[in-house]
Amino acid sequence: MSTMKRLVRVVPTKLMLLMLCAIGLAAHSQWAKAQSNLRIVITEGMNNARPIAVVPFKWDGASILPESLADVIGNNLQRSGKFSPVSLSNMPQFPSSDTEMDYSAWAQKGIDTVLTGSISAVQNGQYLVKFELIDVLRAQLTGGESKTLIDGNLVMAKDHIIVSREKIILAEDFRQYAHIISDIAYEALTGEKGAFLTRIAYIVVRDRDTDPLPYQLVIADYDGANETRLLSSPEPLMSPSWSPDGNKLAYVSFEGKRPQIFIQDIYTSQRTRITNFPGINSSPAFSPDGTKLVMVLSKDGNPEIYVMDLATKELERITQNRAIDTEPEWTPDGKSIVYTSERGGRPQIYEVNLATKRSKRITFDGEMNLGAAITPDNKHLIVVNRTQGDYHIARQDRETGDMLVLTKTFLDESPSIAPNGSMIIYSTLHEGQQVLSLVSLDGRFKALLPATDGQVKSPSWSPFLL
């Protein structure tokens, strides 16, 4: 928690400082608010979701709170695809804690999980936030008081309260704390770690005829809030990829009129050019331990996979054949790399063991499979699958090889998986515009993230930031 608190405060302060410094300078490599605000529009999958009531947190103060915690939490839970937040009009009452709960009123509405909370002002502009996650059915069963044996004594317990926490926060931390509450509730109810306190990096391409710096590298909270532009360029930017500590991005820039790989610190904006080889320099991805960078170079004639030791800058060539090899991704254990190769004629996914350098083909369904990613539990391969000319996001079971197409959108590409493995973000074409889109790993939940300005592509989901 303390790491995140520091992170949370550092970002806006540094951001403002850098924005001040940037005034009067060229837009290159400066922090600035991007304008293409994303919002999430859920398109499919709410009927499978479990109802939950996130009651507006009680607030006795006269001032307007910086953010509605309940709104942010409700939206988060809804966007997970696993919960269906109850509307205000369907809530029988507005309790602020378990003591105010009328269990049967909720049970009658078929709502068996309720999140309540309250906010009160403490000194120095700080707020005390309390919240409770209540299991209505259990509460009905025990009447709100169950008897439990503790050290041989029968004591009254409240085991229907799944979670009860409180914390003092600053005004600027409201949104982050709402994400933390969401993560806690999500994990308590699903058994899976929440990924609400994560970010996405992506590329925005503005109108190239009117904008002198149309290519922009942007990061935002996973839900599109707090968009921050890291870099603006007259030439293409590609393939952002997070370092495992969530502090850096590797990406490809054509600012030098040719592709070069850079690593940029997202807090200081400081960047280092990593490669400038003749030919292709593309597809960088950090190893799970952060010490290496896998990439594609064509310096020796055609695109091959290389691994660079970031400390020594030493390169190790991994593939060796005359076909295109590209789009390398690490397996979670860091011992293998999956990549796209067309050595069999059409692009398919192969896996190479880094110790033996032996490759084997792992996808067989469809005319092509490209752009692979692996779920954090190593159980699924996520690919761009082409079948009958259509490009869709598909999921292949790593053990059985069974493939399931997850999306129905048009020209899907660049899938990136949330660090908890629950959701895939990818780029697709919607009404003639490139936009980001979400699909749950089971394919039931789908959402679009339309942007107000420009084409949005190459999304990359950050690791856990807490």
Binding site: M238, S239, I280, E327, T340, P347, F410, E413, L429
Partner: protein, 192 residues
């Protein structure tokens, strides 16, 4: 007596003069040397005028050559301007081989580059939006390389050529209509 005296003096002077003249009269060597001197002067003068004529000729020739160079340069520039306007060739989907209809235009570029070995070019490879961005970078490079190979086979030095693939990042036409995608699958020869 005075008159006689005067006469005598005049006579003596005359005799002396004649005597002097006789003793310092030109010898044959002297006459030859004089002739040589004359000839040398004449030769120098002739040389000078010849040099002058020659310089004029050289200047004229140089001027003519400069004119020719200017004309050739202008012609080359004209040719380059024409080539710059015919610098895009198109590819079929997922294919990097050059279509026969573009050979004649590529030949013109190749001939120009062979004739102008100091001219360098960048061959840009581009793809349409289908497939993934990174795969399209690889495909774009392969398209660029097939143009490079053609040029090389026509005698263009590899040191004149750089291939840069932009994949699907710089579409010529926005959108995903068949027309737009066909326009985007292209190789572009850019003169530096």
């Amino acid at each position: 007596m005075f008159t006689n005296n005067k006469f005598r003096i005049a006579l003596v002077a005359l005799a002396a003069t004649s005597l002097m003249a006789c003793s310092s009269g030109p010898s044959e060597e002297e006459i030859l040397a004089e002739a040589n001197r004359q000839a040398a002067v004449e030769q120098a003068e002739a040389e000078k005028s010849r040099m002058e004529r020659e310089t004029a000729t050289v200047a004229r020739a140089e001027a003519a050559r400069a004119d020719e160079m200017t004309r050739l340069r202008a012609a080359a520039e004209d040719q380059k301007a024409t080539l710059v306007n015919q610098n895009i060739i198109y590819f079929d989907f997922d294919v990097s081989s050059i279509k026969p209809e573009f050979i004649s235009v590529l030949k013109k570029h190749a001939d120009f580059l062979v004739a102008n070995p100091s001219q360098t070019i960048v061959i840009e490879g581009h793809g349409d939006q289908r497939g993934t961005p990174e795969y399209n970078i690889a495909l774009g490079e392969r398209r660029g390389q097939s143009i490079e190979t053609y040029f090389s086979n026509e005698g263009v030095s590899m040191s004149q050529i750089t291939v840069v693939s932009y994949g699907e990042e710089k579409p010529a036409v926005m959108g995903t209509s068949e027309y737009a995608m066909a326009q985007n699958r292209r190789g572009v020869v850019v003169y530096e």
